[in-house]
């Protein structure tokens, strides 16, 4: 048996499972929205990460972050593709940036915007380092601009659904 006999499922575990599932679902629904640019998305799953970071659950946020990337890539059939690597690098960097933002006591909109910005920036960096894709200033500026806009929109969406998410913290 994996678990010892007296293991009772903890509230924290349930909470984490709920959040990872929700993040994957959000990622799936976001995939149904048509996108004009290939690599720039809204990143709705990051709402979950934002929520956990704001409530100081850094460890759960990290697990949810990794879980979101791995499970959504798995279900979309994109595991171990270049896009998966870019997404993984992006979420990890944006996770640390969001924690930094939280420590600096920024508002949730700014934390989310910075997370989105650095997510896109890291994806460009991976493109440049791994695939020798020359990044010109236009790509950089679009990535930064759309990253902040997407992050701010995520923050606004989060404030609308805060109460539902708070039930499971």
């Amino acid at each position: 048996m994996i678990f010892p006999d007296d293991y009772k499922i903890k509230k924290n575990d349930l909470s984490l499972i709920y959040y990872v599932l929700l993040a994957v679902l959000l990622g799936y629904f976001e995939g149904l929205i048509p996108k004009p640019f290939p690599f720039l998305r809204l990143g709705l799953g990051n709402i979950i990460i934002l929520h956990l970071i704001i409530h100081n659950k850094y460890k759960n946020a990290f697990y949810a972050d990794l879980g979101k990337v791995f499970f959504s890539s798995f279900f979309l059939g994109k595991l171990l593709t270049p896009m998966f690597l870019m997404g993984l690098a992006g979420t990890i960097v944006s996770f640390f940036v969001m924690i930094l933002g939280h420590k600096c006591k920024l508002s949730l909109y700014t934390i989310s915007a910075l997370g989105g910005l650095f997510h896109n920036l890291t994806q460009l960096l991976v493109l440049f380092l791994l695939f020798h894709f020359y990044i010109n200033f236009l790509f950089l500026s679009i990535a930064i601009l759309f990253g902040t806009i997407a992050g701010t929109i995520n923050g606004i969406i989060y404030t609308k659904f805060e109460k539902i998410l708070n039930d499971f913290i």
């Binding site: 290939p38 704001i54 600096c104 006591k105 920024l106 508002s107 949730l108 909109y109 700014t110 915007a113 910075l114 910005l117 020798h132 894709f133 020359y134 010109n136 200033f137 236009l138 950089l140 500026s141 930064i144 601009l145 902040t148 404030t159 805060e162």
Partner: protein, 122 residues
Amino acid sequence: MEHKKLKIIDYFVYFFILIVVIVLFYFHYHTNKGTKAIVYINNKVVKIIPLSTNGIYSFHAKLGKFTVEVIDGKIGVIKTNCPEKLCKKMGFINRKGSQIICIPNKVVIKISGNGEVDDISR
């Protein structure tokens, strides 16, 4: 919840980001325009196209015929067999250092000025 309030530091951060974006835009539109486009297929130079004269050029790439056109000093992809057609979405380019890449066809088009051909063997 105090997280919702925008304080002065938040405005600073957003303002800083805006400045960075504007500066990057400025840098992009003021870099030099290139004079020729170098077409690489499978990392080998296949053709060097001057951007001074309009014209249509066709190549044989990994997935078949690959056609580019030069209009008004810019070069862009007009016909390709790749599934995603991302290379077409990259539009017409004319700035030094700009590229159009088609990964399935293994085509890279780089814009260069005079005497700046770089030999990258990957």
